[in-house]
């Protein structure tokens, strides 16, 4: 809103200024839109459904949303670079299955956690290396392939069945809570803070947005674009590993069907959070807002005993709205450019 007061000082026709201010205000509301919508959603659901704001239910919301939120953090980095990671859901399954097998064989909780996170890292590394060094035009194809491969390995390694048993520490991370606040939400907070610092305070974050905004220019500016891209997928894989850890702890098992369609949830969260598929845009805070928007909608519909089918449709509708908001933003931005040129004269 600062822009509004600044424009009033500039010389020129007042009609243009008003228009410029109006456009700036439009951009501002689109930027803060996701957060406002989430607040509104919480208020509406809170008023219409008293159960919603009870600590027990909020604990549920946090617990159910934590995996989506963790995945969304990784997916955010990927989408900022114009990519997409479809393999995160399958990676949740494989990392859980690998963890369960390691636990059966060794009984060591340290090794189980290392195996789960390591599986995520490995899948991410494969995605990144094949995408970048295999010169594949878009990560969609690569991660679609690894989705299939990884899910296949998870089913093969587990004989298609649930492998029960997770170390107590993993169970606590995934399913435990302090009073009503689940531990998993602390994992989300920790990762989100790390992600925030990485993307906004560190050199790597600048490189990330530079690569997402203009890869060719980034290369010319001697930014190591390939390394940045590989790292993005490795981090998304790691996030999926953390998602796998929480999921395995929650169900106290490694399940080859866990995380089914979780990739879509994470992509939806990032898009609802206002990131652009065209790349270069998106923030940690808004990705979390997107994840919780999905979580709150699901929870509210659950509380009202609405069929899961309708939940799918509702989430889909919200994604469409978010994409349209992005289209609107582009249109406004083009006009700001013109207004800018007119004003300068």
């Amino acid at each position: 809103m600062v822009a509004l007061s600044e424009t009033s000082k500039a010389p020129g026709g007042s009609g243009v200024l008003d228009r410029y201010g109006l456009l700036q205000a439009g951009l501002w509301s689109l930027r803060t839109g996701p957060a406002l919508i989430l607040v509104l959603l919480v208020l509406v659901v809170g008023f219409t459904t008293p159960v919603f704001l009870t600590t027990r239910n909020l604990g549920n919301v946090f617990s159910q949303t934590s995996v989506i939120a963790v995945l969304a953090l990784g997916q955010l980095l990927v989408i900022v670079t114009r990519g997409i990671d479809l393999s995160v859901g399958a990676t949740i399954a494989l990392s859980g299955v690998v963890g369960a097998i390691v636990y059966e064989d060794t009984g060591s909780s340290v090794l189980v956690i290392a195996a789960i996170l390591g599986t995520g890292l490995a899948v991410g590394a494969v995605n990144g290396l094949v995408f970048v060094y295999g010169r594949v035009p878009h990560a969609f194809i690569v991660t679609l392939a690894t989705l299939s491969i990884v899910r296949g390995i998870a089913l093969w390694a587990s004989d298609g069945t649930l492998i029960s048993g997770m170390p107590p520490i993993v169970q606590t991370i995934g399913g435990g809570s302090i009073n009503w606040i689940p531990y998993s939400i602390f994992v989300v907070i920790g990762l989100a803070l790390a992600c925030f610092v990485l993307t906004t305070r560190m050199v790597w974050g600048r490189w990330l947005y530079a690569v997402g905004g203009n890869e060719e220019a980034a290369r010319r500016a001697s930014i190591p674009t390939r390394r940045v891209l590989v790292t993005v997928y490795v981090l998304s894989g790691l996030a999926a590993g953390v998602g796998g850890l929480i999921t395995a702890g929650l169900i106290d098992a490694g399940s080859p069907t866990a995380g089914d369609l979780a990739e879509l949830d994470s992509i939806a969260a990032v898009i609802i959070g206002g990131a652009a598929f065209a790349g270069g845009r998106g923030s940690v805070a808004n990705a979390l807002v997107g994840a919780f928007t999905i979580g709150v909608i699901r929870n509210a519909l659950n509380l009202h005993n609405v069929d899961a089918f309708y939940q799918l449709m509702a989430i889909g509708l919200v994604v469409l709205l978010a994409v349209e908001a992005d289209v609107l933003r582009r249109a406004i931005e083009a006009r700001v450019q013109v207004a800018q040129a007119v004003r300068q004269g």
């Binding site: 600044e6 305070r201 530079a210 905004g213 931005e333 300068q344």
Partner: protein, 263 residues
Amino acid sequence: MTTLLDTPMDATRADTPALTLNDAHKRFGAVVALDGISLDVHYGEVLALLGDNGAGKSTLIKCLSGVHRLDSGSVEMDGVPVAIHAPSDARALGVETVYQDLALFDNLRPTDNFYAGRELAGPAWVPRSLRFLKRKRMTESTREVLERLQVSLPDFHTTVGLMSGGQRQAVALSRAAAFAAKVVILDEPTAALGVRESRRVLDLILRLRTENRAVIVVSHAMDHVMEIADRAVVLRRGRKVGELVPSSETYTEIVSLIVGGGE
């Protein structure tokens, strides 16, 4: 490398050219792009590089900025032979190039555009990518440079994508000027701009000259060349066919050299 516009100019440098190119040759397969071109440019001078399409202007500036390598010939800076094999070499030597596409990051603010790939960050013992940005220092020095070059942006914190063509050109030019201790190369700086915006960019180029930079401008806009260039080198089919001072008297001569009327 991170000294912004404040390199002290010693008097002795005035005599020696900032950049000298000797007998440059470059071919792409059977096509001879540069055929024995020599030129120099001094501090505080604007050198126009003229020629029809395919004359070798682009190849020449790409060789000077490290995108292409010369087949033979030498480059000297301040009279000392240098090797320019990559864009980073050119930058390290104080040569910055603004291409027609500007190479801006539309999603970033001017400051981040200025420092992309050369962020000020610390501490030094941490791997470069994990260093913490010195955001305040970068913002302040960017603001200083823009003020000094009299570039007025309506909102300093707006992303470059929201700026007009002239403003974007000004940001790209100031970025090059800020980091080019010696030579700024501009490829068609006014090609995509309207009259008013061209005016601002031309003024900006003249200010670079005042700041004692050596400026090489590739342009088709003859009236702009006439106005800002101290010297013009005309290329034709990879050869230097003329070098003169642009003025109303030499105008027709320059044009005929460009189109090859003398042949």
